[in-house]
């Protein structure tokens, strides 16, 4: 019968399960009109998966369903799934779901001869006809093996049952317990050959993780990985975490970090939708910078999701208030949401799954994870790395800016994170202690920032009452100067500047003095000259007067010698009149 599976046929019709993620992995749902086997160990969620498939079919896809429970009574089942918001009683009253308990009590039954399971077929047929079911769940069919001695009959009857279900054209989910070395305890997988889904509930280092894997899906391409899944108040959700490619859009929009100086170092902020790593040793102010980023996002009117794995929201709020950053109002406006759990509370996959869910629900523009270092405690370093990779991919695909805070241990190189995620990170801001002159101070530099001409400077950053402030550091002969040594250096420089100012002023005064001296000299000389000039003028005037006198005397003399009139009159220059 498995030949009819039609391997490789492209147009295999599928029935959507309505279970988040499962339809994505299977490329649309379960094979329509065929049975699907869901197997797994006790308590891994088989019944729930089957139930959700049925309820979603009835409520979301208009496909009524029949649930045959071999282990629990209808009342118990309805009660069990009520916590997930499934109201089976109401659905049954509306004839959209039929719930039936098949009781097979070994001790009450004696087998005497040949039999078949026609009674089950009749009941199933009646139930299907009553609600016009398109979906059928048999949970857990294998219980029948405990109810009857004659396994040969049972096997042939089950074979007939699956054939019959196919003939009825219903999409069936059959659950089965996982066996040792085989998918199911009774080898049901040999009857159900179209689709087999394996659920797993593993506990590693006391941390449990639920996983789902599509073992087989005839005639269709499907994700073959193990996908973590969650069971919570909204039901089942599978996370197709690794189905992502590297095709996320790259935004050119820059978002502020909330620290103007840091923005400047990064060339006006970080690109939206990129990942930012803040790493550093203990007490270097990583969380403070992360809080600034969160605050800046909220100021822009965006939503921010803040995962805190070490501090309670109240503690963060209090601590940030001490540096003048009040995140309280953002919490009140529901722009900022804190999620605080211990990393060891559940497995990495569950963390990731929960984060996916939160991000999908809250739709933040910024996600802060403080710190990522603790994830290694919830799994191995390799697992933590894989998980963060998926998280980065997921957030990037959504265009959500991610801020990861990583604590580096003191001994190692600062330029290494324990999670080995540096290659995933677009902007890496490294915070470090600078220990000098008997004090520790905080230094900050941008180790890398993809697509940005970023500053190569180390800045000292100071936590003030008004938030984080970045200052220049002094590079002296002994290296970088920070803190009080920076202050001392500043003072020294100020003193030197003062001295220089004094010197300049002195020079300036000297010049003035010299100028005054020179000018005084000039004045003296000029005064001397004026005296001389006057004297000389006087002498000149006297000479001239004498000269004139002489000429006048000569003229007078000549006049007196008029007798000698024959004598040619000597011409005296300067005497225009002459004697007439």
């Amino acid at each position: 019968m498995s030949v009819t599976g039609g391997a490789g046929r492209p147009g295999l019709e599928k029935t959507p399960t309505g279970i988040h993620g499962l339809d994505e992995i299977t490329g649309g749902g379960l094979p329509k009109g065929r049975p699907t086997l869901v197997c797994g160990a006790a308590g891994c969620g088989k019944t729930l998966l089957a139930m959700e498939f049925l309820v979603r079919g009835a409520t979301e896809f208009g496909e009524p369903g029949v649930f045959f429970a071999f282990e629990e009574t209808a009342g118990e089942l309805a009660q069990n799934v009520r916590s997930l918001g499934f109201d089976l009683d109401a659905l049954a009253a509306q004839n959209r779901v039929s719930l039936e308990h098949i009781r097979v009590e070994r001790t009450e039954i004696e087998e005497a001869g040949d039999f078949d399971l026609e009674g089950l077929f009749i009941r199933l047929g009646l139930a299907i006809d009553t609600v016009r079911a398109k979906r059928v769940v048999l949970d857990t069919l294998e219980t029948l093996f405990g109810g009857f001695d004659n396994q040969a009959i049972l096997r042939s009857e089950l074979r007939r049952l699956f054939r019959w279900l196919k003939d009825r054209g219903v999409t069936a989910v059959i659950t089965a317990e996982r066996g040792d070395g085989s998918l199911t305890r009774q080898g049901l997988e040999e009857y159900v050959s179209d689709c087999v889904i394996l659920l797993d509930h593993r506990v590693t280092d006391q941390v449990s993780t639920r996983r789902l894997r599509v073992v087989k899906y005839r005639g269709t391409a499907h994700g073959t990985n193990e996908y973590p899944f969650l069971i919570d108040e909204s039901g089942f959700s599978v996370l197709p975490l690794t189905s992502l490619g590297l095709d996320h859009p790259a935004s050119t929009e820059r978002v502020s970090t909330g620290i103007p100086r840091l923005d400047a170092m990064l060339g006006s902020g970080v690109f939206r939708g990129t990942s930012v790593l803040l790493s550093g040793t203990a007490g270097t102010g990583k969380s403070s910078i992360a809080a600034h980023l969160a605050d800046a996002a909220c100021r822009r009117g965006e939503r921010c999701l803040y995962y805190s794995f070490e501090e309670s929201p109240a503690q963060i709020l209090r601590n940030m208030r001490s540096i003048g950053l009040d995140l309280g109002p953002w919490v009140a406006t529901k722009q900022l949401r804190f999620i605080t759990t211990r990393p060891t509370l559940f497995g990495l996959e569950m963390h990731l799954a929960a984060m996916h869910k939160h991000v999908r629900e809250f739709d933040p523009a910024l996600v802060v994870i403080d710190p990522i270092s603790n994830f290694a405690t919830a799994g191995t370093a390799g697992e933590a790395n894989a998980m963060l990779l998926r998280l980065v991919d997921f957030l990037k695909a959504r265009g959500t800016t991610a801020v990861f805070v990583s604590l580096t241990s003191g001994g190692g190189t600062l330029e290494a994170t324990e999670q080995q995620i540096s290659s995933l990170i677009d902007t890496w801001i490294l915070l470090r202690d600078i220990e000098l002159g008997g004090e520790r101070n905080r230094g900050l530099y941008v180790l890398k920032s993809r697509g940005t001409a970023h500053s190569n400077q180390i800045r000292e950053f100071v936590l003030t009452d008004l938030g984080v402030e970045l200052r220049d550091v002094y590079v002296g002969p002994e290296g970088v100067l920070t803190g009080s040594m920076r202050a001392a250096q500043e003072a020294r420089e100020q003193a030197a500047a003062e001295e220089r100012k004094q010197a300049i002023a002195t020079r300036r005064r000297e010049v003035e003095r010299r100028r005054a001296a020179v000018e005084a000299q000039i004045a003296t000389l000029r005064a001397g000259f004026v005296t001389d000039e006057a004297e000389l003028e006087h002498l000149i005037a006297a000479e001239e007067a004498a000269d004139r006198q002489l000429r006048d005397d000569r003229a007078a003399m000549a006049r007196n010698r008029r007798a000698d009139a024959n004598e040619p009159e000597p011409t005296a220059p300067g005497r225009p009149g002459g004697a007439a």
Binding site: R103, I109, A112, G113, D114, L120
Partner: protein
């Protein structure tokens, strides 16, 4: 194919008539065999104080749910209490008698 034989003669510690119900699904060879085997057994062990009701689930499918029938044929001893069930075509007489708790009682006689 309801059959009722009743002879209230012999007094019995088990008191009164045995009410047996045989669930079948159509007239299949198995159901016919079962009915014949049952009849033979009753004649032998409960002469005159049994009543066999044959229920065909093809005709009355609702009864399958109400009476919690899975295997066919199923023989249910409704009286005397408690309810006992035997499945199969009853070709294994020994097991049928044990199932109906006729064996210990028969030894008592």
């Amino acid at each position: 194919m309801n059959t009722a034989d009743n002879t209230p003669a012999t007094p019995d510690p088990d008191a009164g008539t045995w009410e047996l119900r045989l669930y079948v699904a159509g007239k299949t060879p198995k159901s016919v065999t079962a009915f014949e085997n049952l009849k033979k057994m009753c004649e032998q062990h409960l002469p005159g104080r049994y009543r066999i009701e044959v229920v065909d689930l093809i005709e009355n499918p609702r009864l399958a749910k109400e009476d919690e029938i899975v295997a066919i044929p199923t023989l249910v001893r409704k009286l005397p209490d408690p309810i006992r069930r035997v499945i199969g075509d009853l070709s294994n007489v020994e097991k049928t008698l044990v199932g109906l708790q006729l064996r210990p009682a028969a030894q008592g006689w």
